[in-house]
């Protein structure tokens, strides 16, 4: 189930986005999902799919249900109606540890790291499902356990190099600045060698430079490892640049779905983001750049 990672060559890949999205198999399909908390409906009849190898963005104004959607996908929330098909298996309920075991890894909007542990220990926890040595072997650090530990360690070092966090390897993550914490969280998710990577606002609260780094990492992960990425992001510039397809949610309903260009031109999307002009002759608003998720 773990796909082998291609070696990093340093050569830029040709842009294959258009081909990818037309031909690739559906990795995950969400059908008619409705999620309620008591009397509040967070998601209403939402359907979309994620295809293998693409970068899929989920956007929408605050409170649109984006994070709820991710939580449904990886099993934190169980929808009242609808179903999620993951790698051909349809389930009405997915449990988080099953999602992780079958290849879904994620990061969180409010960083969820193990704050008491160092960077490297945090990343090692991402490989916890891959440890196979027996209990006694591990306790005695003997035989298979030792070999395995070294192999995991080597794999983790690769990820550390890839994300350029060598300098903070042994720092307790609680002491790291915000941008680096986000990066360590991404590293932990990558350590699980996921097929589908869910990123909940990976660039929130970052400065321009950090955002550019993060964009580069996300694209590299997608292109070099072939990992499918689904991300929530408010920065429209980022979304339009790095995603292959975008799904737009508003008030828990799906508003639009398509390539960045299609979505950007969709009147309903423009309305949700910028409000309707009641002034009559106001100029046509354009969704572009960093005029983020403001609902007027």
């Amino acid at each position: 189930m773990a796909t082998a990672r291609p070696e990093f060559t340093g050569q830029p890949e040709p842009d294959t986005r258009q081909v990818k999205q037309d031909l690739a198999e559906v990795l995950l399909a969400v059908e008619g999902v409705t999620l309620r908390f008591g009397g509040v409906t967070a998601l209403t009849d939402v359907s979309f799919d994620i295809r293998r190898g693409e970068v899929r963005a989920i956007i929408g104004p605050n409170g649109a249900g984006k994070s709820s959607m991710l939580n449904v996908i990886n099993g934190f929330y169980h929808p009242q109606e609808g179903q999620v098909t993951w790698k051909g298996v349809t389930r009405s309920q997915m449990r988080p540890h099953e999602a992780a075991a079958t290849g879904i890894a994620r990061t969180f909007q409010n960083i969820a790291l193990f704050r008491g542990m160092t960077t490297i220990d945090n990343i090692m926890t991402g490989r916890i499902l891959k440890m196979k040595a027996g209990f006694l072997e591990q306790m005695l650090y003997w035989g298979r356990a030792q070999k395995e530990e070294l192999a995991h360690r080597a794999e983790v070092e690769k990820i550390i190099d890839f994300l350029e966090i060598q300098a903070v390897r042994n720092t307790p993550v609680g002491q790291l600045p915000y941008g680096l914490q986000k990066r360590v969280e991404l590293a932990r998710a990558l350590a699980a060698e996921p097929e589908l990577l869910l990123l909940d606002e990976p660039m929130a609260g970052m400065n321009l430079e950090e955002k550019e780094d993060m964009c580069r990492f996300v694209l590299d992960v997608n292109q070099e490892f072939g990992t499918t990425v689904a991300l929530i992001e408010h920065d429209m510039g980022v979304v339009m640049d790095i995603s292959d397809r975008v799904v737009v949610l508003d008030y828990g309903k799906k508003l639009a779905d398509g390539t960045p260009d299609e979505v950007r031109a969709d009147p309903a999307v423009i309305e949700a983001y910028l409000g309707v002009s009641h002034g009559g002759e106001a100029s046509q608003p354009v969704l572009d750049g960093a005029n983020g998720a403001q609902r007027s």
Partner: protein
Amino acid sequence: MNFVATYLLGPFGEMIAYPPGVLETVIAGLGNGFLYALVAIGFVIIFKSSSVFNFAQGAMVFFAALNFAAMLKLGVPWYLAGAFSLLVMVVLAFTVERVVLRPLVGQDGLSLFMATIGVSFFIEGFGEALWGGDPKLLKIGLPEDAIFTIDYPWGEALGLDIIIQESDLLAIGVGLVMVLGLYVFFQYSRVGRALRAVADDHTASMSIGIPLNQMWVVVWALSGFTAFVAATVWGTKIQIEPTVINLALKALPVLILGGLTSIPGAVIGGCIIGVSELMFETYWGQPLFGGATTEWFAFVLAAFFLLFRPQGLFGEKIIERV
């Protein structure tokens, strides 16, 4: 001046006058302290990973001891009786997770605490209903004799004439092995790693594939195991009867000193409480207050401690963002 001489200087004078007596008291105190620590470790294991303050830990020690002792009374060999008692503790862990904790997922910490009080009463009553409330002996041939050091060549060579209880040495030894074993378990085993992750952040650990429900069973079984070990060692010192539960409450001041989230803290807290209460009893309590100060000394010490360091010596400071 008389007061100062009697209450402050006098006891120290006695200590200086006869130093071997101090050593004797300290060793006996450490023995008691490790007994408290063995119970406190069970609290810490559960609190650290699930933030549940398990009031039933004392009852679990009693229950483990009771099953063990009752089997012995029926003539079962000690190893089978021990295995039975251990098995019961694991089954209890499963049951508590399924019946008590799972329906309360996401509830307030206080509700969970109240639930464990209920569990405590249930275990006590259930144990007595099964085996009766009469005092039982839990003797499986562990060393518990007194050692008169002067009888040994090394004692004579050092000119040391004190009495050491083997059961105290046993408690210290078992306690140290327990802490070392738990350290290795948490540091190197997969389950131990998972438990550390769970202790740190529930959401994050779910996202990396740790099944929380199974982890609750593991921590309760683990604390059941420590309860079993504690019960076995306690058996060398006392009879098994329901008042054991009250004795186990001494683990509370130990936790206040050591911190609720630290296993080494539980041991060091246990040592401080064990030694200081026995020192106080020997040099102040018996000559000046008519004795029986061990009943309350630990709690008073803990109360003072709360004023200065509420998170304990090794506990994590809980800072909540408002």
